[in-house]
Amino acid sequence: MNILTMLWKNLWGGNRTTLFPARPKVSAGYRGLVEFDPELCTGCAICKFRCTARAIEFKAGKGEFTWSYDPGQCTFCGRCVEGCAEHALKEGHTEHALSQESAPPPIYFRSGELKHAYTVKRKTTVKAAAPQQANAPSPSPPANSPAPGGTQ
């Protein structure tokens, strides 16, 4: 009979689920989307090897490399951020991931829809002064990219 009491309470106690497009709050442990800083990235591709969800892809080219990130495939495990020695990757928010109300994981309708690619020039190790300025990275996200290098 206890189960009937529970059902009765559930019936009048409101819903725990929501209708689309309303979305639940993200959990306290949610790390947010990965932020990429092309200025700091050296193209070591450690992040690609640490990404078990294959959300990060890396293609090496002549004098440059392409780094891409698909938030639709990301599990927000944070292993890429942990492994990035240059701190070129950051979790969505400096303190605690994204704000709990406003930034749940993104919605997408087609596979790869949220993917963003950045083509970055490699930094050459030249003994001459100011190598950083000579080979400044040039992020080139797609035309419809909302925020290059930032949280999508």
Binding site: I3, L4, L7, N10, L11, G13, G14, N15, R16, T17, T18, L19
Partner: protein, 304 residues
Amino acid sequence: MNLTTALARLLIFPGLLFAIPAAWFFLWVERKSVALMQGRVGPPFMQPFFDFIKLLGKTTPPRSGVGGLLMRAWPLIAVSAAAGAVGLLPVLPSSGGFEGDLILLLALLELPSMCIIAAGFSSRSIFGEIGSAREAVLSVAYNVVFLLAIVSIAAAQHTFRLESLAALPATPMRWLGVLALLVCLPAKLHLNPFSLPNAEQEIYSGPMVEYAGPELAMWELSHGLEWVAATGLVATLAAPYITLWWLAALVFVGIMVAIVLALSTLASATARLAIDTTVRFYWQCTLIFAVLAVSSALFMRLRS
């Protein structure tokens, strides 16, 4: 009942034109009430219709030979049988019927179950075969009670004609039979705690595992029509005789919705039983109950 009346009943009311929207409505009531009792929002009103349309638009895997032909045929036979069963229900007073239509109704109600058994074995999937075997065992177990309950009602009231049964005043014997029918309905409609043949978590919906697209849509429709036919049968026997046609139809639908809600509550409140427990339940407990009903009905008939 002439041919025109029979066709009108089969195709218009209470046949396909009424039964198909009613089937979707009952499927929605069941899903929504279970969701509310579990603290969920549940599907929107049109969801069963959208599911049906969506499935119709999908392609099915190509199947060749007699096996493929049979797999396509089973859901169609099930839908036809369930629609025919709904067409026989005497929703409106003096709406037709013939001598012994209750027996035909029982046969038509049983056909979808047999189609499910055949479909599971035709699919050659291990899950389908397990589901079919469970359905067969369950069918034998609950049908004894189901048929005995019907026989006891018919014997007590001296008729196998549905319309006559609906018109006659209810006796204690009929209420006993209706109670026995209600006990069988969860098994007939594959609801918890007797949802063994289509156990989603264990055998991936059993006989339905190899079905997709329009064929699965037909199975869903057949299931909805079974809801209408089975609850309609109980409503026919439980509803008081009313001469006003609109009031009769309203009471009929009201009783059906009440049964759907009661069965949904039972499904929400219980977990799936094992097959041996289920069979034991029907054979040991309910068989005694039904035998008591039949013997009482025969005793009353001898006295009268």
